[in-house]
Amino acid sequence: MLSYIVRRVLYAVPIAVGVTLLVFALLHMAPGDPVNAVAGPDAPADVVEALRRAYGFDKPLPYQYLLYLGRVVGGDLGVSVATGRAVAGELAQAFANTLVLALGAAVVGFVAGIALGGVAGWHKGTVVDHLATVVSLIGVSVPHYWLGMVMVILMAVELNWLPAMGMASGDAPLFGLEQVRHMLLPVLTMAVIPTGIVARSVRAAVGETLEREFVQALKAKGMRRGAVMRHVVRNVSPTIIAVLGLQFGYLLGGSILIETVFSWPGTGFLLNEAIFKRDLPVLQGIILMLALFFVLLNLVVDVAQAALDPRMRRT
């Protein structure tokens, strides 16, 4: 098991380097000059050039990349072109804010999705199944942006029950009542898609497992429903964990749409801002961090699957 984990961690290194190269190349190929984007509109050419030198954008690209890579290895993600603040600090704050939403949405989405999908799979072909399928289909199909707006109009503007946007002011405790009230709308909006996807996956996996011969055999032996269910859960869980891991990754990535609709200062909000300001250091930092998260998350999922299913360890 240990050697498996070590091997997987080592695989992550070339992936991370590849991501930095890809991100760097893509961002420099995209239209829009980061220096022009932050200089004053009438700044004369020599001042813009001085700014370019100050940020190091005047050096050849391969050299810039190596410098960047060297700094990243040393843990320095650079400084935001737009604000002068350290990218690492900006990212840490934004990520903490997104994490709060992602955890909330994961709990809501996964519990609802597993419950819906489980019930539907267990009662396949019945009215309950159809109902659960419709609900999960809506979850997958409904546009986030629209749903967020509708929730705001209903819950904040018309009923005035919940705040329309933002986090509670900085003095409020992270999981205090005020913060939870601010979180509810974005969390519910964000949870809709994972609910749908998880429900569909669980339904399919449960339905499929129930039809397998060993389950038939267990039933034929007269095993109680609860005990059969335990066997089914054990068999279904590796597949479900893979889906949950991927979904959690997406949630952690933050949603540009949801965070913009709710003015929630997380990674999606920061990413949106960095794109419009051509803030390359921030963009590079966010994308690198998100990519590494996916790598890490896949690793955790693989290890969890291996722990649950001995067959996986042999591969």
Partner: protein
């Protein structure tokens, strides 16, 4: 009596709303359109919204804007300088007499050395406080400055490279930061931005990047008539217009910038106050004057100006616009008297096109660069489509190249000649026309072609250059206004742009916001505001 769970929930929500209402005494929470708090170190980014909220709140310049009147265009007035004169014998030599009673928020005294230090931060690359970013944001404002020195603690002498009577206007954008605070934070502008110190009527209490800035009144402000009434001013970035509207309607903020025109009836029906006032802004097409541009023919330019139904566009914007009659608002002191009248006259437009040799068989086909959104761009897509239809009627078929606002800005700065603008003969960019340089000079002076400035279309006219030089050489305000009027009249007579509308900056606020005056300007004086 036993309460059901729904009743309890409603009661809890009501109590929470009541608690928020009690907290909100004397606190003004503003939903801004910016995505982040504009830079707080005294040289704001985010255009004039940055100056509005992070600039003139916490800082002063030597010359300030008088924002007290809603009825007439704002003018400049003494700020940290009590007065200024240009030497009649040598008009490149200016003397600024400073106030002796102003202090920075950190308690250090404002004096002539602080002024010199602030000029160094923008112009002297060897000074420890020099900042390339700040120099790029506001340094061009004082590009005409050749040297500066402190004569005594309350007198500064500034020499310009050539006579430049616009200097006082330009100095209104050079906000003065505290040298002592810069030393205290370890000579780091990023740290200074987190703990800024200016002389302005508000000081920063707390800054949470991307989330909010909390400002509190500077009770020791030197101008006792402008000590802020509020207990607290909170600036909250809300780039999404519908989010701002929802936040106002649900009571999370008290004041929002730029509500979408279609939400204004709803806001009004909820008891919100809507303010609007014309201000120095122009929504126009900046036309290319390169040899291959169809806009080189004055008859085509005039015809386009006569073909646009500006009242129709105003209606499209819910009435929140002023049809343009030139580059400047009619109330501007620099409007002058032109002979060409910008108005909607389709017949006259068709006649001019025919004179220029165009007709049903020979149409103009050209491409205009526009953005899908952006600061000051109002509702760019429907407005541009409206104009497209208007111009089609007189034989001009325009096609749009739609880009995001940052790309538009990049391509605007690059000038019409740049590779990236090949095939583009005009660009829809909104302009702040607040001071003589921004209002007129930057578009017409022949030495401000890219990369030296934003005379995007490469317009060049020796007569215009002579008028600009004359204006810069005229130090009596009335005489200067007269010449600036001649510059504007010449622009209109030559139909240099396709002028469409001026924005009126709609803002929405709750009925509890009192004392707000919306001046005819990009900037606001929030010291008069209270929340009751």
């Amino acid at each position: 009596m036993k309460l059901g769970i729904p009743t309890k929930l409603v009661l809890a929500a009501a109590l929470m709303s009541a608690a928020t209402a009690v907290q909100a005494q004397g606190i003004l929470r503003i939903g801004m359109t910016a995505t982040d708090i504009p830079l707080t170190h005294g040289s704001p980014d985010n255009g004039f919204e940055g100056f509005r909220f992070s600039g003139y709140t916490m800082y002063d310049a030597l010359v300030n804007w008088d924002l007290s009147s809603a009825d007439k265009p704002s003018v400049i007035k003494p700020g940290l300088a009590l007065g200024w004169t240009a030497d009649p014998a040598d008009p490149t030599k200016w003397t600024f007499k400073l106030r002796g009673d102003a202090k920075f928020h950190d308690g250090s005294a404002f004096n002539a050395d602080a002024v010199v230090w602030n000029f160094d931060k923008l112009l002297n690359k060897d000074a420890p406080q020099f900042d390339a970013r700040q120099a790029s944001l506001v340094g061009f404002r004082i590009a005409s400055v050749a040297s500066y020195k402190a004569v005594d603690a309350e007198t500064v002498e500034i020499k310009t490279k050539a006579p430049d009577s616009f200097l006082p206007y330009q100095l209104s954008f050079i906000l003065l930061a505290s040298p002592a605070q810069f030393e205290k934070v370890g000579r780091d502008w990023s740290k200074f931005a987190a703990q800024p110190s200016g002389t302005g009527p508000f000081k920063l209490d707390k800054l949470v990047p991307h989330e909010r800035a909390v400002l509190i009144p500077n009770k020791d402000y030197w101008d006792k008539t402008r000590v802020a009434k509020l207990d607290r001013l909170e600036l909250i970035p809300m780039p999404e217009a519908n989010t701002r509207t929802a936040a106002l309607l649900s009571g999370q903020v008290d004041f929002i910038e730029a509500p979408p025109p279609d939400t204004i009836p709803r806001l009004k029906s909820s008891g919100m106050t809507i303010t609007a006032n014309p201000y120095p802004h122009i929504w126009s097409y900046h036309l290319s004057r390169l040899p291959d541009s169809p806009w080189n023919d004055i008859r085509v330019r005039k015809a386009a100006n006569l073909a646009v139904d500006r009242e129709g566009i105003k209606e499209l914007l819910g009435g929140y616009a002023v049809p343009a009659s030139g580059h400047l608002l009619p109330s501007s002191p620099w409007t002058g008297k032109s002979s060409f009248v910008v108005k909607y006259d389709l017949e006259a437009a068709k006649k001019l096109m025919a004179e220029a040799g165009y007709g049903p068989t020979k149409r103009i086909k050209t491409k205009i660069l526009i953005s899908a959104s952006g600061s000051g761009q109002m509702q760019p897509l429907p407005m541009n489509e409206f104009i497209q239809e208007n111009l089609k009627e007189i034989g001009i078929d325009i096609e749009f190249d739609v880009v995001d606002f940052t790309t538009l800005t990049n391509r605007w700065r690059a000038g019409a000649k740049a590779d990236q603008n090949v095939g583009i003969t005009g660009l829809n960019y909104s302009y702040a026309i607040v001071d003589p340089f921004n209002a007129l000079v930057r578009y017409v002076k022949s030495d401000l072609h890219a990369p030296n400035g934003v005379n995007w279309g490469f317009y060049s006219s020796p007569e215009m250059d002579a008028l600009v030089a004359k204006a810069q050489n005229t130090f009596d305000p009335a005489g200067q206004n007269e010449i600036l009027g001649q510059i504007h009249a010449k622009m209109v007579d030559e139909a240099l742009f396709l002028w469409v509308v001026h924005d009126v900056a709609p803002r929405a606020m709750t009925a509890k916001v009192k004392g707000f005056v919306q001046p005819q300007n990009w900037f606001l004086d929030l010291t008069t505001v209270s929340v009751q």
